[in-house]
């Protein structure tokens, strides 16, 4: 059986749930995975044990304090065995996977959503089509979250490798987001507004629901282009962020092709739109034909009582 190397995804200093999903991807590829945990404190690797994984390597180094692509790639490459590299398809880990692949002289396949033997499927044109490729030999891949079944947790068999890397960039200043709300690229639930919201002030109704259920607030391109108050960082779509949360709630968004391209792979989609013929409904698991003024207060109070 050939080998693979899973680069653990970390979030706020702990192992992110997508790491367990990568184990299933490794097994689907017919490989025996080793989990590699980039860290400054090796104790976080203790929770990186999974069924089907016999080895966890904590790669500990000062270079992992902040993300610096070249030193991370160098340090992980030095500590990880040969094999297929598997990373999460987060913006940072896709970047890292590409660098490690180039370092090893191998190719990279990003955003994998299905594995069949050595055939890997990823969305192209932001999900307007799917592409299946065949791989031969070692490659690096990144896998989308919320696709593969998470492997069960078990005790980790951790070895610690101290590794330094020459940091090529210097962080001058970290600017915390003004709100504590998640960014759309980090969230498992997203509620997005379109031009149907009528004015940027009305996004406060989306924010209220977002705070109730721990969601991020997104926006369509039409909303971002129309209102200066709605920043591009909120934009979901082919020219914004591609997201695949567990739940995507689209409010006052008609469903332009370039918006659909950025969110259609979400696990569940709810659409609220007053136009029963809006294209977004063809992609919604649950559609509500109503104005946002009618639907959002009801949704907010229902969620509030569930969360209470």
């Amino acid at each position: 059986m050939s080998e693979s190397v899973i680069i653990a995804e970390t979030n706020k200093g702990s192992i992110a749930s997508v790491t367990a999903e990568m184990v299933s991807a490794a097994i689907a590829l017919g490989t025996t995975p080793t989990v590699v945990v980039p860290c400054t404190d090796a104790s976080i690797a203790d929770s990186a044990g999974f069924e089907g994984v016999s080895k966890t390597i904590a790669v500990k180094g000062d270079c992992f304090t902040n993300y610096d692509a070249s030193s991370w790639a160098a340090a992980i490459d030095a500590a990880a065995p040969a094999g297929i590299i598997i990373a999460a398809a987060s913006p940072q880990s896709k970047d890292l996977a590409a660098r490690i692949a180039a370092r090893r002289g191998i190719s990279v396949v990003q955003d994998v959503v299905a594995i069949d033997g050595m055939n890997l499927t990823s969305p192209i044109y932001s999900g307007k089509a799917m592409q299946t490729v065949a791989i031969s030999g070692n490659v690096a891949i990144s896998v989308r979250a919320n696709i593969f079944q998470p492997a069960g947790a078990t005790a980790a068999n951790v070895s610690v490798v101290d590794q330094s890397g020459d940091v090529a960039t210097a962080v001058q200043e970290i600017i915390a987001r003004a709100s504590t709300r998640l960014d759309v690229s980090e969230a498992n639930i997203i509620i997005s507004g379109g031009r149907g919201m009528g004015s940027p002030d009305n996004f406060s109704h989306l924010e209220k629901i977002a705070d109730t259920i721990g969601a991020a607030v997104g926006a369509s391109r039409a909303a971002v282009d129309t209102w200066d108050e709605i920043p591009h960082s909120m934009q979901v779509g082919q020219t914004g962020k591609t997201v695949n949360p567990n739940l995507y709630i689209a409010v006052g968004i008609s469903g332009a092709i370039q918006h659909l391209a950025g969110m259609r792979s979400s696990k569940y989609i709810v659409a609220v739109n007053k136009d029963a013929d809006a294209p977004i409904f063809a992609h919604a698991d649950y559609g509500i034909v109503a104005t946002w003024e009618e639907a959002l207060p009801v949704l907010e109070s229902a969620f509030s009582s569930m969360m209470a």
């Binding site: 692509a69 913006p91 890292l96 299946t132 989609i269 649950y286």
Partner: protein, 247 residues
Amino acid sequence: MPNIVVLVKRVPDTNARIVVNGNRVDLSAVKWVISPYDEFAIETALQHKEAEGGTVTALTLGPAEADKILKDAKAIGVDEIVRVWDDSWSDLDSNGIQSALSQAISNLGAEVVYCGKTAADTGAGSTGPGIAEKLGWASVSNITNASFGGGITVTTPVEGGSANVSVSGNAVISCDKGNMKVRKPNVKGIMMAKRAQVSVVSADAPTPSVTIVSQTPPPAKPAGKKFEGGSSAQEVARLLRDEANVI
């Protein structure tokens, strides 16, 4: 004064409908454009030149059809336009593309490379960091702002916010939109672009280890449940909890 390269890619317009014919996408009817994020890379490269002097060369990999987007870049204001290609290439994988581009970048004597954060066709975002690794350079991806003067300082997203990061030495920097407004071609630029010559250079690319098997339409989603009226939001909330298990 910096020798600046900006990578550009020819892609279908993001408003284009993507049609699949016989296991391959059929792009015969689409309008081709510079990949949207590459426009922010061109803008950043031109701002860098305005701050520190030097030259900006737009570089693409592709067949002769890609000359059009190089001329579009010329019309916006880049100095030189270069295309790397070998007629024996078809469906290069990421290792091949990065190898060829990094050779061309080395031969141009570049010190800093700007590119879009992802291309609108693959959405992969592999080329910038991959080239940086092959060149042994630093890389910073997905930047939303750049400032110049005694080095480059960029703003890049980090968990919980963003960071201002300074880059010294040679680097590949991939650009997100941020709050950037891109300049449009002016009449003089368009006239100059018409006369501009594309330099075509060659490079070596390794044999692909990733080959395309098929391209297919996205899987159709089973019809969802549709409700009338705002009060149905109560029922939808219940289904999200009890049926979908996502709340």
